[in-house]
């Protein structure tokens, strides 16, 4: 829970007061300071090196643009918080023994908050006062450093480029250097906000070189405690993403760069989003969680914990009641994410709810608490009334009209009563406090599926990580052997190694596609087969396989296209298929052509197979069954054909027949995952849920990546009232499931 600690500064539940005032909490302080900090007082303004005629006791006049940024403007959140918290946080994170450094920074910070009159005075001068040009380089290191840094600041005010100067050894530790480097970068960007990037860099480099700090190397030495946590966590979450080395401070620096133009409390969130696009760290984190979920099913617990963190993060950030903070896009973003209103699609985060009634509602009433959670937890008996009256009060508020209208038509009172009653009776069937966490878990599960779906449906094949066959001398042959032996998942890996080596190998892709189909993964099957088709556009087996997979996925137009392609490229029947037809395929026409072909060659099993698939498309199941049976007479050992027959029978609700056909297929190929899964489906469709569970588990034991089977298993468990095993299912705990549901 490193991230949460950083945000809340505590391991217990966050407390608004604590998080806003905690100085041991850099990110929290930062967030508070930048989003909602107030105008600074000058109480700590001490002697300023430059002598200027100002009454230090007067308040700094408003728009102070000396240092851009709203932390000096409107008091937003907590009038007592200070901008120095910004650096306080960093300071406390500094390496131990950096006391001297901290004090120096204190001074600098105070100096930096000079109101414009003073500054105006300075800029009138022709040059900085003489005593600025030569910082005293004598004295204890701390003093030297302090003066040196002062002079850096002064030069900035004077608009004079800073001159590097040789300094005596200051005995700065790596941690100190790191701090100086980072803070000076930030500071410089503040000071020289109106100057060019090169100027800023030059200044900073001048400063750093004088101090003998390498401006590029990020501290390899011991990092400050908090930074390390953040860095570790960040790196962990970056696991699958190939970002450049982004040390924890990176985004802070970048943020500072962008602050110049923004004087609005949302700027922090906005600029952050601008920097990173819709993929803020939150969604990057989630993305990495998603991709890591693909591989690490057994490690679901840490991922669930991570999801939990995100929720807690949202809750924490939402603790603050200030509406401006609430409205900040960042908070909305995180809230939406934790509530499942966002979808990650095409690696973009997109909102799905056109009217954010949920968000708005939440903001109106229960910042930081999911309304249903609270409702369920605390107010079951009084809930309906309260909610209804609140709702009625707010009917004229800024809530999505459509939602309001729909619900107002439904006699909200009744609805809410029913709802309350149902909840009281436990209609949801789960413990209320877990309900939303569970829903969120499911949401994340869905996103995994959706992500894979979106990748594969774009024809993007998803390679496995950690492939032991990469580097194998002849992975194709290996793959073929494994396939023959029935080790489908292993064959997949070997074949992936092959196509990584030879991306144009049509046979490699084709076999890979077939292996996936037999492993009950049509998405990957399609992706692989599309590559095979690219490599060899006339291959009949590929075209048929694509037709089958698309039929399975109910993609009727695409399926028809591929089946027609089979006909067109067939040496014997190609003449039957006019190419112009391909542009406007009507099922009826294509079916007719296939029948012609069948008449031409009644003993060609393949024609009958393709016809069988065609009839599945049109749901003329009897004809399909007849075609497959004819083909089977010609090819009785074709296990895939038996499965096709079985599937056709199953879909025409002849489940008993289907099961016999599947059994034939399994006799011929015992590791035929698809057939095992189909068995499960046929039992489930007959209401024989207990049996179906066993078959699903068996299928999953052979291919734990068969997502469809996991979903069906879950449904069967629920139908069989085996809710005790739902958790095992969600966490993909095959060991437990196999123990509980063996197949005799």
């Amino acid at each position: 829970m490193a991230m949460r600690d950083l945000i809340t500064g505590a391991t217990s539940c966050p407390d608004p007061a604590a998080s806003s005032s905690s100085s041991a909490n850099p990110l929290g302080a930062l967030a508070n300071a930048l989003i909602g900090s107030s105008s600074k007082t000058n109480e700590r303004l001490k002697e300023i090196p430059t002598s200027t005629p100002t009454d230090p006791s007067s308040h700094p006049p408003p728009p102070s643009h000396f240092l851009p940024g709203s932390e000096f403007d409107k008091p937003l959140l907590d009038p007592s918080s200070h901008g120095s918290h910004f650096l306080n946080g960093f300071r406390s994170a500094a390496a131990p023994g950096g006391g001297a450094l901290e004090e120096t920074w204190d001074e600098i910070q105070r100096d930096a908050r000079i109101p414009p009159q003073l500054d105006g005075g300075l800029y009138d001068r022709a040059g900085p006062p003489p005593h600025l040009q030569q910082p005293t380089l004598d004295g204890p290191p701390q003093r030297v450093l302090s003066n040196f840094l002062h002079s850096f600041l002064d030069s900035s005010r004077g608009g004079v480029p800073f001159h590097p100067a040789p300094l005596p050894m200051l005995g700065l530790s790596e941690g100190d250097k790191q701090c100086i480097r980072d803070r000076s970068s930030i500071m410089a960007r503040h000071l020289f906000a109106d100057k060019s990037e090169e100027f800023i860099d030059a200044q900073v480099n001048a400063l750093l070189s004088s101090l003998d700090i390498d401006s590029n190397v990020r501290g390899k030495g011991p990092m400050p405690e908090r930074f390390r946590e953040l860095e570790d966590y960040w790196n962990e979450s970056q696991g699958n993403l190939r970002l450049g080395p982004h040390p924890a401070d990176g985004w802070i620096t970048e943020y500072s760069q962008n602050r110049a133009n923004l004087d609005n409390p949302d700027s922090w969130a906005n600029s952050f989003q601008q920097q990173h696009g819709a993929n803020g760290w939150v969604s990057e984190f989630e993305n990495s969680q998603l991709s890591s979920m693909d591989q690490m099913h057994a490690m679901n617990m840490p991922n669930l914990a991570a999801m939990e963190q995100t929720r807690m993060l949202a809750n924490t950030l939402a603790q603050n009641n200030d509406p401006k903070f609430q409205n900040s896009k960042f908070l909305q973003f995180v809230s939406k994410m934790s509530r499942g209103e966002l979808i990650i699609d095409d690696n973009q985060v997109k909102e799905t709810a056109p009217g954010d009634w949920a968000t708005e509602y939440q903001q109106q009433y229960n910042p930081g608490h999911s309304w249903a959670g609270e409702f369920l937890n605390d107010k079951v008996s009084h809930g309906p009334d309260q909610w209804v009256s609140e709702f009625n009060d707010q009917q004229h508020g800024p809530i999505d009209d459509q939602w309001v209208n729909e619900f107002s038509k439904l006699h909200v009172g009744d609805w809410a009563d029913e709802f309350g009653q149902q909840v009281a009776e436990g209609a949801f069937g789960e413990s209320s406090s877990d309900n939303w966490a569970q829903a969120y878990d499911e949401y994340l599960n869905e996103q995994v599926a959706a992500k894979q779906q979106s990748d594969s449906s774009r024809g993007v094949y998803v390679f496995s990580d950690l492939n032991p066959y990469v580097g194998h001398p002849n992975p194709l042959k290996e793959g073929q052997d494994l396939f023959r032996k029935g080790l489908l998942s292993e064959a997949v890996l070997a074949l992936e190694a092959e196509v990584l080596k030879n991306p144009e190998n049509a046979e490699g892709w084709r076999l890979l596609g077939i292996a996936h189909a037999e492993n009950d993964d049509d998405q990957q099957a399609i992706a692989a087969m599309m590559r095979a088709q690219e490599a060899d556009p006339t291959n009949l087996e590929v075209l048929l396989a694509l037709g089958v997979s698309h039929t399975n996925e109910l993609e009727q137009t695409a399926a028809l296209k591929y089946l027609y392609g089979w006909l067109r490229h067939h040496p014997k029947y190609g003449s039957l298929a006019p190419p112009e037809l391909a542009d406007s395929l009507y099922y009826a026409d294509v079916a007719r052509l296939f029948n012609e072909a069948a008449e031409m060659s009644p003993d060609d099993a393949d024609v009958h197979i393709v016809l069988g698939v065609m009839y599945n498309l049109s749901r003329e199941y009897d004809k399909a069954i007849a075609s497959f049976q004819r083909a089977l007479k010609l090819k009785p050992q074709d296990y895939s054909l038996w499965n096709k027959l079985g599937a056709t029978q199953a879909n025409s609700v002849q489940s008993a027949d289907a099961i016999s056909a599947y059994q034939q297929a399994l006799d011929l190929k015992p590791n035929y995952v698809r057939a095992w899964a189909n068995m499960g489906i046929s039992y489930a469709n007959q209401g024989m849920y207990d049996e179906s569970i066993r078959y699903y588990v068996r299928a999953l034991a052979m291919n734990p990546k068969a997502d469809n089977a996991w979903q069906y298993l879950r449904i069967s468990l629920s139908c069989a009232s085996r809710n005790d095993m739902l958790e095992a299912c969600d966490s993909r705990n095959l060991d437990l499931l196999q123990k509980e549901f063996p197949l005799q």
Binding site: R339, G340, E341, T352, A353, P354, G355, A358, E406, L410, E418, F419, Q422, A427, A439, E442, Y443, E446, A449, D520, V548, T551, N552, L554, E555, Q556, L560, L585, Y586, Y587, A588, V613, N616, L617, S618, R619, E620, N643, K644, A647, T648, N651, S652, V653, A658, R674, N678, I681, S682, A684, N685, Q686, G687, N708, Q711, Y712, R714, I715, S718, C719
Partner: protein
């Protein structure tokens, strides 16, 4: 029946449901549910070019078109893909509702009884 390219994926699912309801298992569902649902399924965007199906789990019938015998207990509006995903268990209907992915009208308790569990699953060739 001939399929044109304008057909919905949901057609296949609802067709299977229709036949399913006359089996033993289907009759069980009818006994347990006893409600009438209307599904408005749109190919791309909810509300556009909708096809309406009535799934009568009182009589065990699936018909195209709105419910003729009165008012349905609950009416759902989906996108084609989303309906399929819900039936196949890939999408949680409660979450979908919260997100606005599906729209519901009518009795909440009736709506809650709609779950992937009542639908037969398609087998794969």
């Amino acid at each position: 029946m001939a399929s044109e390219s304008a057909n919905l994926k949901s057609d296949a699912i609802l067709d299977q449901m229709k036949h399913h309801l006359s089996t033993e298992a289907g009759k069980e569902i009818v006994k347990k549910t006893g409600l009438v649902y209307e599904f408005h399924i749109a190919p791309e965007k909810i509300g556009d070019n909708e096809v309406i199906y009535t799934v009568d789990l009182k009589k065990g019938k699936v018909t195209k078109g709105p419910y003729e015998g009165g008012k349905p207990d609950a009416t759902f509006s989906f996108k084609d893909d989303d309906f399929v995903n819900i039936v196949l268990g890939k999408m949680n209907p409660q979450l979908a509702f919260m997100r606005g992915t599906i729209k519901i009208k009518g009795s909440l308790s009736a709506a809650q009884k709609f779950s992937p569990n009542i639908f037969p699953k398609p087998a794969k060739m």
